[in-house]
Symmetry: C2
Subunit: 106 residues, 2 copies
């Protein structure tokens, strides 16, 4: 295989990576929504440790653990932002319903 062939393979891998990253973001968003109704914090060091541990165990190389961890630190940062946005949305939250609404609709 020449450089162009390997690059084609990388481009295909990237399309699959983007899909998985988006599925991961979707799950993080759902967790954010569930956290909104509880007192759970966005930053949970135990959970983050368990993610790194899972990833390290799954790593069969050639990526060294230290480099994989660097990628995952960024992934976790980005996912934390998504959760934060889900818990405190930038858009103004909907007004709580009034008693009048409750009477009309419930």
């Amino acid at each position: 295989m020449d450089i162009a062939d390997w690059r084609k393979q990388i481009d295909e891998l990237d399309i699959r990576l983007v899909e998985l990253l988006n599925r991961r973001a979707q799950a993080a968003r759902e967790i954010g929504r569930l956290k909104r109704n509880t007192s759970m914090p966005i930053y949970e060091p135990d959970r983050e440790r368990s993610i790194f541990e899972n990833v390290r165990k799954a790593n069969q190389g050639p990526l060294p653990d230290s480099e994989l961890r660097q990628v995952y630190e960024r992934i976790i940062d980005v996912m934390r932002n998504i959760q934060k946005h889900e818990i405190v949305p930038e858009d103004k939250p909907a007004e709580p319903r009034t008693e009048f609404d409750l009477e009309l609709n419930d």
Copy 2:
């Protein structure tokens, strides 16, 4: 689904992400090896632009393009290091064979 279910899904996605990242690293390593025999530089801004473009096109959300780009900046950094290592290995390269070796073995 509750938070534990979503986390289980994330852990499964991470195992697949780790595998794809390693396949990507393998391809980057092969490109590094091929570059070793040419005068091609490790840093190629046009190629990096084309990676970002491919990734942006593949992005169907919910990850915003800007956040996906942040993840990819880290991935590309890490892959560049792997290529650098492949082109200039840390281990001392084997000594070139002497004429004496050539006479004995060839």
